[in-house]
Each structure stands twice: as structure tokens, then as C-alpha cells.
């Protein structure tokens, strides 16, 4: 097995990690850095449970090699709260009841955070388009969309 040594920033911390070259970013986050908030769902880039921010843009971390991430900046769901305080969106999704089993929530939060960064006032259609790559197996989409709307309004 061939390894790469990479240095990257994850949730504001600089990490140096030795990774097998076929290891995905998702595996590295969960298995090397113990950041298990990011979930593995479909392993095919469809469900979005593994969504993280890579250099400020959301990507499916199951579709990225860790070896590619040398020098990258990654934000996972664990990085959304600052100093123990949840982000506005995290607070709103709790309030609206947009969390059921919770499996899709980390990916939803990352995709929605990225949406609100590029579009502070999205329409419902824009919200649904931005979350098309995040599947909720409880099908609780209504309250998730409500949370994004309400968070944007603040």
C-alpha cells in the first residue's frame, strides 16, 4: 500500500496525516481524525450524507481522495459551532424539528450553510435545488427547508 503525507486544515486546526493513497476524504475524517459527524451513506455521490466544505465549497467527501487534499481547508459539521455555540442554522433546525433520525443532518447543514453563504436570501426553489444532493431517509424535507428559510430571514 502506498501512503501520502498530507497537511491540511480541518475545522481551523492544522493536521498532518499519513493516508493510504486510495483512502477517501470521508474515511480520513472518520477513521484518522475521529470526526464521525460526517456520515457514509451511499458511497456513490448521491445521498450527500458525507458532504463537507472543501475550500469553502460543498463536496461529497466519499468522492474525494484524501491524498488530493494536501493544502486544502475542510469544514465538517463539527466545525459549524464556534466556542460551543451552535450556528444560527443549527439552532433553527432544532427549533423547526428538522432533525428526525439525524443521519442526513450533518450533510444538510453543510449544504445549507454553503447555500446561505453564496445566497443570503434564497427562495424556496433555490433552497430545494441546493439540497437536491442531500437525501433524508425519514423524508422530513419540509421542516429542513423551513429551517433554512427561517435561518435566512435572521
Amino acid at each position: 500500500m502506498t501512503y501520502s503525507r498530507i497537511t491540511l486544515t480541518v475545522n481551523d486546526l492544522v493536521e498532518t496525516v499519513d493516508v493510504p493513497q486510495h483512502m477517501t476524504l470521508l474515511q480520513m475524517l472518520r477513521e484518522k481524525l475521529s470526526l464521525t459527524g460526517t456520515k457514509n451513506g451511499c458511497s456513490a455521490g448521491e445521498c450527500g450524507a458525507c458532504t463537507v466544505l472543501m475550500n469553502d465549497e460543498p463536496v461529497n467527501s466519499c468522492m474525494v481522495l484524501a491524498a488530493e487534499c494536501d493544502g486544502a481547508t475542510i469544514v465538517t459539521v463539527e466545525g459549524l459551532a464556534k466556542l460551543g455555540k451552535l450556528s444560527k442554522l443549527q439552532e433553527t433546525i432544532i427549533k423547526t424539528g428538522g432533525v428526525q433520525c439525524g443521519f442526513c443532518t450533518p450533510g444538510m447543514l453543510i449544504s445549507a450553510t454553503a447555500l446561505l453563504k453564496r445566497n443570503a436570501n434564497p427562495t424556496e426553489t433555490e433552497i430545494r435545488e441546493a439540497l437536491v444532493g442531500n437525501l433524508c431517509r425519514c423524508t422530513g424535507y419540509y421542516r429542513i427547508v423551513e429551517a433554512v428559510k427561517e435561518s435566512a430571514a435572521h
Binding site: 502506498t2 448521491e46 430545494r128 437536491v132 444532493g133
Partner: protein, 297 residues
């Protein structure tokens, strides 16, 4: 076969310092190595065991692969590492090739389009590739680099069969050039999936039209069809009908039937061949009607 494990089969990640080095490596390991940009197709196929590789050769960052530029004479150049989202939000692409923006935005999801590339969509050579048809009817030309130098090939001569192209061992598509769009062009992409957004296409129809003094009808139309033949195809007979006869609702209906008659779809999990044929007719008619409404306005 569905592989629930998040891991990829063991392979090496190769990051060459130049395109020449990438080509030499690919030529030396033909069949065992592939160029790697977004990986959105390769990863799925590697996990499913359909694709077996020893090396992924990262071409992102190599010379010219990140180029995305428009020139009023030369047209649009899209490098191999340029993602679909980068294309879709580029002001020049929005202004001059809105049909390409529309097609790119139908692919999968926002986060996937942050990795997926137009060149990858083309090189994957799936008949279902959503951006291929629009690039074809915009007369796209691929810029290719190999161990023996560079060459160009028109996109409509690139595909041989599903997943197979004319690329030779060691060759890499470095970019695509789309000539400046015809004056007065109106284009649309119609996609039918199992759901409203994000699915692979059951049928995809790319149409563009523009005023043309060369056509007896006064207009020229181009029509490309996805997911309905072994390779992305153009509906030449339908285009000829629209060039020759005065454009009316009847001519449009005739052209849509000609498009339907030209396709050879298969039955698969997403739809039957018969359904696909009928949808080619309906979507072609819808697309032509929409384009004509804007052209004749």
C-alpha cells in the same frame, strides 16, 4: 452490484508535474491508469468493480487544464479540470452559452457539480451525458495531448460506443473549444429523469436555432439527443426538415417525429425503449416550440 463499503479498491494516486509526464505515464500503464479530474464517474465504477485500475493520474492543475476563457473570435475554452459549477457561474458562459449553463445545472447535485467536469462528462462517453449534446451542437472541438504531440478532434467524431472513444493510449483531452455561438442563437436543454432534479437522464434533448440566410426556411436548427443511442447523437434528418420547410407547428411536429425515428434506445431500469422513443418526440417538439417562440419574437 452494490458495494456498501466507503472504501475504494487499493490503487495509487499519481500527481505528475506536467502533461507530458501524465501522457507518458498513461501510455506506459495503458489499461491500468486513467486521467483523474473530478472522479465522479470513476469512483462509482471502481467501487462497483466495473472499472479496475492500479493508478489514478491527477491532471488537475496541469498546464491549461484550469483555463476557462472566452474570446469573441476563438470562442470558449474549457479546460479539463474546470468544474461544472465553475462553467455555470462564469459571466461569459451565462451571456454567450446559456444553453450550456442550463445543461450543466441538470447534472446530479450542486456538491457533485463542484467536482464533476465537462471534459469528464465527455470522456466518460456515456450516452446519457447531459452536457455532451449541447457541446456537440455548438460544434465543440476537443484539444488532445498525447505522447506524440497534440491533435484536435471534433466532438461529433469522438465517440465509438458506450464508454469508448477514439482516444489512444497515453492521450489526454486537455480542453474543449466551443466556437463563438451563431448570431441570434437560442438554445435549450430538456431533460427527463425519474424525478424533477438530480437523476440520470431517461431522455435528454438539446436544441438550438438561429437565423440563417443559407436555409430556405430562413433558420438553422441543431438537435442532439442523449440516452437514446449507443453514443450521443445528432438528429440530422430533423434538422434538414427545419432547414427546408417554413417553420410552423406542423413542421416542428414533423421534425420531432424524424428525431424519434432516428433513435435506437434500449430498455433499462430508467425506462423502456418504446417510452424513450415517444419522449424523444415529445421533448423535441417542446424544445423546438420553445426555441422557435423566442426566435420568431
Amino acid at each position: 452490484m452494490i458495494n456498501p463499503h466507503p472504501g475504494l479498491p487499493e490503487l495509487e494516486y499519481v500527481k505528475p508535474a506536467s502533461l507530458s509526464e501524465a501522457c507518458a505515464f498513461l501510455a506506459e500503464h495503458d489499461g491500468k491508469a486513467k486521467p483523474f479530474a473530478g472522479g465522479t464517474d470513476s469512483f462509482v465504477r471502481l467501487r462497483d468493480g466495473v472499472l479496475k485500475l492500479d493508478y489514478l493520474v491527477d491532471i488537475k492543475g496541469l498546464e491549461g487544464t484550469k483555463e476557462l476563457s472566452f474570446d469573441s473570435k476563438k470562442g470558449l475554452t474549457i479546460g479539463a479540470a474546470v468544474t461544472m459549477n465553475q462553467v455555470a457561474k462564469h459571466p461569459d458562459v451565462i451571456q454567450h452559452y446559456p444553453n450550456l449553463v442550463q445543461a450543466a445545472n441538470t447534472v446530479a447535485s450542486y456538491q457533485l457539480r463542484n467536482r464533476a467536469t465537462i471534459i469528464g462528462n465527455i470522456c466518460n462517453a456515456s450516452p446519457a451525458g447531459d452536457t455532451i449534446g449541447t457541446c456537440m451542437i455548438l460544434d465543440g472541438v476537443l484539444n488532445i495531448k498525447g505522447t506524440e504531440g497534440e491533435r484536435t478532434i471534433p466532438l461529433n467524431a469522438f465517440f465509438l460506443a458506450p464508454g469508448r472513444t477514439v482516444l489512444k493510449a497515453g492521450e489526454v483531452v486537455t480542453s474543449i473549444t466551443l466556437p463563438p455561438p451563431p448570431a441570434g442563437m437560442v438554445g435549450v436543454y430538456k431533460k427527463l429523469g425519474r424525478n424533477q432534479m438530480s437523476d440520470l437522464s431517461i431522455v435528454g434533448v438539446a436544441v438550438l436555432g438561429y437565423p440563417s440566410a443559407k436555409s430556405p426556411s430562413g433558420y438553422a436548427f441543431r438537435i442532439a439527443l442523449a440516452s437514446v443511442a449507443p453514443v450521443p447523437m445528432e438528429a440530422l434528418k430533423a434538422e434538414a426538415i427545419l432547414s427546408e420547410k417554413k417553420i410552423t407547428a406542423e413542421t416542428i411536429a414533423d421534425a420531432a417525429v424524424a428525431a424519434m425515428d432516428a433513435v435506437t434506445p434500449i430498455d433499462d431500469v430508467r425506462g423502456s425503449a418504446r417510452y424513450r422513443k415517444l419522449m424523444v418526440r415529445n421533448l423535441t417538439r417542446e424544445a423546438l416550440t420553445e426555441v422557435w417562440a423566442k426566435l420568431s419574437n
